[in-house]
């Protein structure tokens, strides 16, 4: 076991502890094998009414090993309270990992550049590796190369975009007259190029997002843009929910209800009256906002867990109504033949007046998908701009103040009722927009699309990203939604990875990826506010 290596290195009193832990782990392994060997190792099956005994030694041994290793780790690090640093013999900090991270990033960047720019380089690498390892590993190598290749190309594109964003900003600054007291000479130093990474990261992501359909051109374009649409939809939902949960501190477990209201509003209006998407979109937002207010009233006095339960119930009520109100919603059959959005009056079809013909392009069904992508991207950016603006306005500050301390808010003359309702309404309106987009993209909706699973997923995105952080939502959406697509080849293991990474993240950063709060107004200099000072809101 790994302990042997650690044992020889350790020259501290922890040596004896490790020895004891190894003995303990071996004992545990024996007991575990006695159990699993009989319970898992043997299996009886009835094959054509005959009882057959089969063995599963592999599974039994794997389980035994898992128990022993787990026992060893728990023993050393938890029960005996030995820090990992005691075992290694020196303390580790983030600085120690920086060179490793830099090296990994650089390697990925180079690989990504090669794969992205040199045609056939990926196939070449795949071939070379397969011939080295042998034919039986071919499938595994192909998966590995495609995963690492995708990651590397992502890193390459993103870093390039970040550099472009930085250079663009520097160019603007060089041309524009310098603000008072600014040091011109420092513009092209390394510090100036690497500093302020978060802003560049956001800009870089935006550039990548805008250029995405071109970047992924090729046989995979349709699939890639489809995935991107899904990711951006969740980013938009996350940003919307962030108003309610992140800013106002109201835990809403039924957010999907407003998504459903928006989707059904568009579907019903478009199929019944034949109104265009651009007319229905604001209507869907207004309907969803009204439902947000309707939900808001009964829950005004509820806090924390109680609020969460009532909002959860509300989400379910909407879904059950959609299933049972057969004459209007079509019940479980849903609504189909929902008109799809067209390019401001120009349809995406093969006809003379279609989009492709008018713009002199060869007809392709991808055009419509790319247009969908830009629609949702614009909607999401709109959500972000409005939210960021609201945050700097009295209403947004009142939301955050309410999250911090509701009683103090009342003492300052802030009307808690309207403040809460406005948060619910605005969050719901964004979900309504996203919902009507969902309906037009799918062309078919049914209550099955609006289960609690969706609410939980959006909430997970907000919580993992960091409550109140817009950038956090983006990263969390890409990681959660993107990774479940990314690891599609790994089949059921991806759920394991998904759950495991969530647990790991919450242990490592319990307040989410980006936990600090950016002040909404600055007198002299902007200081990030540590997560420990920021309240999460009690509903």
């Amino acid at each position: 076991m790994t302990a042997a290596g650690e044992l020889s290195k350790a020259d501290t009193p922890s040596q004896s502890i490790l020895g004891e832990a190894v003995r303990d782990a071996i004992l545990t392994a024996l007991i575990a094998f006695a159990l699993f060997g009989s319970l898992v190792g043997f299996k009886t099956e009835s094959v054509q009414n005959v009882l057959v005994l089969t063995t599963r030694w592999g599974d039994a041994i794997a389980l035994t090993l898992a128990v022993a290793v787990g026992r060893f780790l728990l023993d050393v690090f938890v029960w005996r309270g030995l820090a990992p640093t005691d075992v290694i013999g020196k303390s580790l900090s983030f600085e120690d990992f920086k060179p490793v991270l830099k090296a990994v990033a650089a390697a990925l960047y180079i690989v990504g550049a090669a794969f992205f720019l040199l045609e056939g380089s990926r196939a070449g690498v795949e071939q070379a590796l397969s011939s080295l390892a042998g034919a039986e590993w071919r499938g595994a190598i192909r998966t590995l190369v495609s995963l690492v290749g995708l990651l590397a190309m992502g890193v390459f594109v993103l870093i390039t975009a970040m550099v472009v964003a930085r250079l663009g900003r520097l160019a603007v600054r060089a041309i524009a007259p310098a603000a008072e007291g600014e040091k011109r000479s420092a513009v092209f130093t390394w510090q100036a190029i690497t500093g302020d990474l978060m802003k560049e990261f956001a800009m870089g992501l935006l550039i990548v997002a805008i250029l995405l359909p071109i970047l992924v051109a090729g046989p995979q374009q349709r699939y890639a843009v489809d995935t991107a649409i899904q990711v951006v939809t969740y980013i938009m939902l996350g940003w919307g929910l962030n108003v309610v949960v992140g800013l106002a501190g109201l835990l809403d477990l039924g957010y999907v209800a407003f998504y459903a209201v928006g989707a059904y509003s568009y579907a019903l209006i478009a199929t019944q009256f034949g109104w265009s998407f651009w007319v229905c979109l604001p209507l869907a937002g207004i309907f969803a906002a009204l439902w947000g207010i309707l939900l808001g009233f009964p829950v005004l006095r509820l806090r924390g867990d109680y609020l969460a339960i009532v909002t959860l119930a509300f989400g379910e009520i909407i879904r059950v109504v959609l299933i049972n109100w057969y004459s209007v919603t079509g019940g479980p059959n849903g609504i189909n033949r929902i008109p799809q959005v067209n390019f401001f009056g120009i349809p995406f079809d093969r006809s003379e007046t279609g989009f492709a013909a008018l713009f002199g392009l060869e007809f392709s069904s991808v055009h419509r998908i790319i247009f969908f992508y830009y629609v949702i991207l614009a909607l999401a950016l709109f959500t972000n701009v409005v939210t960021m603006r609201l945050r700097r306005l009295p209403i947004g500050r009142a939301w955050e103040a309410m999250r911090e301390d509701e009683i103090a808010c009342r003492s300052l003359g802030i009307n808690i009722v309207t403040t809460k309702l406005s948060a619910f309404a605005i969050g719901a309106a964004f979900a309504g927009f996203a919902g009507s987009f969902f309906a037009t993209r799918q062309g078919f909706i049914s209550p099955e699309s609006f289960t609690f699973h969706e609410s939980a997923l959006v909430l997970a995105i907000v919580v993992l990203g960091g409550l109140g952080s817009q950038m956090g939502v983006v990263i969390a959406s890409i990681v959660l939604i993107g990774s479940s697509e990314f690891f599609r080849d790994l089949e059921e293991y991806r759920m394991l990875i998904f759950g495991g990474s969530m647990v790991a993240l919450m242990t490592w950063r319990p307040r989410g990826l980006i936990a600090t709060r950016t002040p909404s107004v600055i007198l002299k200099e902007s200081k990030q506010i540590a997560a420990a000072n920021v309240q999460e809101g009690r509903g």
Partner: protein
Amino acid sequence: MMREALPDILDVQHLTMRFGGLTAVDSLSFTARRGDITSIIGPNGAGKTTVFNCITGFYKPTEGMIRLNHASGESFLLERMEGHQIAAKARVARTFQNIRLFGGMTVLENLLVAQHRALTGISPLSIAGLLGLASFKRAQAEAIDFACYWLERIGLIERADDAAAELPYGDQRRLEIARAMCTRPVLLCLDEPAAGLNPRESADLNQLLLWMKEEHGLSILLIEHDMGVVMGISDHIVVLDYGRKISDGTPAFVRDDPHVIAAYLGVEDEELAEAEAEIDL
């Protein structure tokens, strides 16, 4: 006697607050004069904070009347108003015994939240703000100036961009007072502002309160245990014990009142009877 041109700023009549079987405040009547610092004192559990919570709308009194008179002649019956309206319309501001700042927001943001009403008045439904109209920008700049005025006065201007939770205790107390002042109140209710302050800080607090009274024509209602603060700056003291008023008058009068001494130091029953006989009660 002739009625004065301006009535007292606060007139409390027969205020009673019961929680189930417990009577926390029992038929309390007192007035607070305009421009005075009126202190409410009494042993722990005398019902002082309950009186504050009734005045500022956090509790609905069981019985009684609380009338607030503005200098304009307008008057408000506080017991009938919503909590947030008391701060917004009647312009009564308060601080809390256990400081309630918005810890995760910066010092400056705390003072801007306090000016919420003024700013939303400029930009109904946030529309002017969303569109970035000049009228809103001007109002916002004025709000920041007003906040800076108070930050300079309480000596926290250098820390304007720090989280409120990171301030030391004494600074948090002063910031809470400044935040209450940013709502531009006519009556400021301070619930034990000197609790946890060292003698020097508490002397500074005295200066600040006197300055606010002089400079802003503010009326202050004060709950305090620190007798140095109470006797030093009060114009008028109301003493409560077990929810009843036991004394009411100038600091000198209250200090020598045997009922007050009895309530604070405790006396034998016969001594109390003697004392009561002496003052014809």
